[in-house]
């Protein structure tokens, strides 16, 4: 395990594309999470609301709801986690376009080791993102919550764990596309196309089936946070993490890793 990580880290340590993209991803993650409140306030203030309805001030950065709010934004399938998927796709398709996977295997790496090495990098990226969220969440929470207890701070922190899981499954999906298509442009195009198409495909499925499509299943882990504004409008959202959603996501994770392994095992490189 350590040996594989050492090998993978050597491959990316001086790979500029990787660091530029990863750096920008983390930076934009922090910026967006930090300016979320201002963004929401701006929308509320500029909206034309009839005078007789008083909109309560909604703070997104209050413990413990902050964990739900931040992870929801960070894991949105249309937002920056796509960048992370693109990074994974580039790292894997590079091995095919440089044909270094061939040299790796000739030199003595097994196909399973190759897959695990890539998975280790994916886990590192997920850990990094979760860590950024933890640090950002703690900073914003302390700045914006008046009087807090340990219970309040750590309450709903399970959203961070689920966020990690969601990202892990999502990046396994990206890895599978990369191994299947082998070309960066093709794989990125396919990922984006599928991201756009899935909500449309979902419509053609029976209602209960559609939620088991891969991206949908991942996104179901963290539902839209139930803010006071929503309650005001009489809309109720799921505020907890459903066990069945976690199982569905884990099953998808295993499927993507297994399919990637099958492709590596039975195709010539």
């Amino acid at each position: 395990m350590i040996r594989l990580l050492k090998i993978e880290l050597k491959k990316i340590l001086t790979y500029r594309t990787f660091w530029v993209l990863t750096g920008l991803y983390f930076l934009s993650l922090i910026i967006v999470l930090g300016s979320l409140q201002a963004f929401l306030d701006n929308i509320v203030n500029s909206s034309e609301v009839s005078e007789n309805i008083e909109i309560p001030h909604i703070s997104l950065y209050v413990f413990p709801d902050i964990w739900h709010n931040l992870t929801y934004i960070a894991s949105s399938r249309y937002s920056f986690k796509v960048i992370l998927a693109i990074i994974v796709i580039i790292l894997i398709t590079n091995e095919f376009s440089y044909r270094t996977i061939r040299q790796n295997i000739i030199t003595g790496l097994s196909r399973t080791e190759f897959l695990f090495a890539k998975l280790e990098i994916i886990v590192l990226l997920c850990l990094g993102s979760t860590l950024i969220l933890l640090v950002t969440g703690l900073s914003l929470g302390f700045l914006n919550t008046l009087g807090f207890s340990i219970m309040e701070i750590s309450g709903k922190m399970e959203f961070l764990i689920v966020y990690f899981l969601e990202l892990l499954v999502y990046l396994s999906f990206a890895m599978f596309i990369a191994i299947m298509l082998r070309k960066a442009g093709l794989a990125i195009g396919m990922l984006l196309l599928y991201t756009i198409m899935e909500p449309i495909i979902k419509l053609s499925f029976p209602k209960d089936f559609g939620r088991f499509l891969p991206l949908e299943a991942m996104n179901n882990l963290i539902h839209l946070p139930n803010t006071k504004l929503m309650k005001l409008m009489g809309i109720e959202f799921q505020e907890y993490i459903a066990f069945s959603d976690v199982v569905a996501a884990i099953v998808y994770g295993f499927i993507f890793v297994f399919l990637s392994w099958i492709l590596l095992r039975y195709r010539d490189v």
Binding site: R102, Q103, T107, G108
Partner: protein, 299 residues
């Protein structure tokens, strides 16, 4: 003698093309084994299969008498076709990755870089290397960690004459240490000058397997020429101790029985009233043998 590599009835098709066709051969310890064949004869596919990157349709192969796997591949150093490295990494970093995969120490990196004369460029990015330098880094990678078997697929591709001579010398020197070497090439000269054994491939089939010297030391051909070529040809055709005869431009080429030599021919022709103006032994080269084998296969 123990077989280092044993290939049995190996086949692989790409679409309608049968790249390797029921190929069998063995490489023994200490051999400098040449895999010779024209472009597209299945050399690289065969090596790709035994190196684990291409899966065969049928047939088996074994290394060191054991079934293949990533563990056995660590004992083999190989370049397949063009060298493949990370372009954004330096030569030395690329070799470190290979050393990590092979689970050996980095101490060996400097040694192999010096062997291929790349030591002073080791910190430069691979993408900035010239074609010859890339090839030499590939050879350095194959030499890394002193493998028991060295597989070189067209190793002198892209090298200048000096580089080619260096690589040939290097191959012979490494072989002296007891390392088994498998050399794939379409260059007959290369195989003739370096290899002890050869397998000739054509359309994925084994056309000939054997000792290089044995081919070269077969009864030599004799060139004879005379002012009256027709008379010469007729006279020689009647000579009893002759295996084959054919005309080539202004010469008649004959292959004699083992117990006969060029002096006998001279005497025979003189006594039959044919004056010879050219008589010489032609040492058979691998190239002639190779072309002959290919010609037979096309019949």
């Amino acid at each position: 003698m123990s077989a280092i590599l044993s290939i049995k009835q190996l086949s692989k098709s790409f679409g309608f093309i049968r790249a390797v066709n029921e190929l069998s051969f063995e490489v023994n310890k200490g051999d400098i084994f040449g895999l010779l064949g024209p472009n597209g004869s299945g050399k690289t596919t065969t090596l790709g299969i035994v190196l684990g990157v291409i899966s065969p349709e049928s047939g088996t192969y074994s290394w060191f008498g054991t079934p293949p796997g990533s563990k056995t591949r660590k004992k083999i150093g190989a370049i397949l076709e063009t060298p493949q490295f990370y372009p954004y990494l330096s030569g030395v970093k690329n070799l470190k990755i290979l050393a990590d995969i092979k689970e050996c120490k980095y101490d060996d990196i400097d040694r192999v870089l010096k062997i291929v004369d790349l030591h002073d460029r080791k910190n430069h990015h691979y993408r900035n290397y010239s074609l010859g330098m890339k090839q030499r880094l590939g050879i350095a990678g194959a030499l890394l960690c002193e493998p028991e078997v060295l597989i070189l697929d067209e190793p002198t591709n892209g090298l200048d004459p000096q580089g080619i001579a260096d690589i040939r010398k290097l191959i012979l020197r490494i072989a002296e240490d007891g390392t088994t070497i498998i050399l794939a090439s379409h260059l007959l000269d290369e195989v003739q000058k370096t290899c002890s054994h050869v397998t000739i491939l054509d359309h994925g089939k084994n056309m000939y397997s054997g000792n290089v010297d044995a081919i070269l030391n077969e009864t030599p051909l004799i060139e004879v020429s005379s002012d009256d070529l027709e008379k010469l040809f007729n006279a020689l055709s009647n000579y009893t101790k002759i295996k084959s005869i054919y005309q080539e431009a202004d010469k008649v080429i004959i292959m004699l029985d083992e117990d006969s030599n060029s002096a006998d021919i001279n005497e025979y022709l003189f006594s039959n009233g044919v004056t010879v103006n050219h008589l010489c032994n032609r040492k058979k080269t691998l190239e002639k043998h190779f072309l002959q084998i290919l010609a037979q296969s096309n019949d």
